[in-house]
Symmetry: C2
Subunit: 204 residues, 2 copies
DNA sequence: ATTATTTCACACCTATCGTTCAGTTATGGA
DNA sequence: TCCATAACTGAACGATAGGTGTGAAATAAT
């Protein structure tokens, strides 16, 4: 018992042993990019080893194999996505300006392969229920952020009081995910701007 | 040479031999449902054998293995999807009514797993370029159908002449795909109707 | 009934999946 | 310097992937 407690309490403090030759976060970023491009089933451990430079055994021990690696890579992606949502949609004061700014900042880079959150939702049957839930949760959080801005806009008189803010929030969320699909077919930022401009007319 | 030509010219006419114990179209429907639910990489040949009742060898000979089976199952799905688009969006006279009707008829059944066309687009790296192109083509065709209705609406005075019908068509297409994602998270037809109602306000 | 032809069932192929094990190397404290 | 510990390496694990060969079963013309 005492030994167990001791070994546990001192586990964090590295007293001896070889140092890890990789950076945990860098590995997660590489893995995320691969899962992003090829999905969970489409990504093979051999590719993860190749891209991250970490041995199969290392990946298993450190991240818990393919599933653990996917979960953590997805969490990293979702955390970044959530930050991006919050940076624009949770800015004070809430209102229509935030929504406008959100769609303005959206951009397809080059080699756009959609959004990992959306891709995970469409791959529901292949991923852990935890992974699916995490993606779903961020999706809902984004929807709620849209809603909050609409509600405050309505309270401030930016938006007519009879507008259905709940349905509008769902529409904005739908357009947001739809853009991640549309971008696969036609990754043009100017086209995205034109689409956003149209939907934003609803908020004038 | 003569033998080759003869054997070829008579191939279609079944003169003798054992009859197939399965219906080609039924097999494709079963395969389609599986690919729809689990994606290309996520569907294994053993499952296809189990569901269709056709042996591995039969699937290979008749459909060209997993890839051929996916292509043909996808084509079947896309054909149905295209028919659904055309039935509403290519009805005469073209106009805003068609668009309204399209979104009205949309429905998530139970156990909704998104749209196979959209899922194929998000699985780009795992599927044949032919399969991806086929999905992309139908996506674009739908967008063009939206456009046609908007153009005719504009010509008929249903829609103000200064409206950007191109951007509007892209928006409708984006909402359409977005709904297939939103339905995974929240497969409620009434919510779908509310979302559609909002975007249709743009066309009044 | 015989026979040519086609499909079917079973088992087997190679390749690769994700996972794991010994054996070796590097590190910090005694 | 030696040792206890942790991490790394390469090989190999069993399972299963998709694809295939062989012989039996079924069919329609002879």
């Amino acid at each position: 018992m005492i030994n167990l407690a001791l070994s546990h309490s001192t586990r964090d403090i590295r007293l001896m042993g070889r140092r890890k030759s990789y950076d945990r976060d860098e590995v997660l970023v590489k893995a995320m990019e691969l899962f992003w491009a090829k999905g969970f089933e489409g990504t093979h451990l051999s590719e993860l080893v190749e891209v991250t430079g970490v041995n199969r055994f290392g990946l298993y021990g450190e991240f818990g194999g393919k599933e653990g690696l996917f979960q953590q890579a997805l969490d990293l992606y979702l955390q970044g996505t959530l930050s991006a949502y919050r940076e624009t949609l949770d800015a004070k004061p809430h209102g229509l300006g935030n929504i406008q700014e959100y769609f303005r900042r959206l951009s397809y880079g080059d080699a756009y392969h959609g959004c990992l959150m959306i891709n995970t939702l469409t791959e529901q049957d292949n991923v852990t229920s935890d992974a699916f839930s995490a993606a779903r949760e961020v999706y809902c959080e984004a929807r709620n952020l849209f809603l909050k801005n609409l509600q405050e806009a309505q309270a401030a008189g930016e938006l007519a009081p009879d507008r259905d803010v709940d349905a509008l929030a769902n529409l904005l969320s739908t357009v947001d995910s739809g853009l991640s699909i549309h971008g696969i077919v036609s990754p043009s930022d100017s086209e995205k701007d034109a689409i956003a401009a149209q939907v934003l007319r609803l908020l004038d």
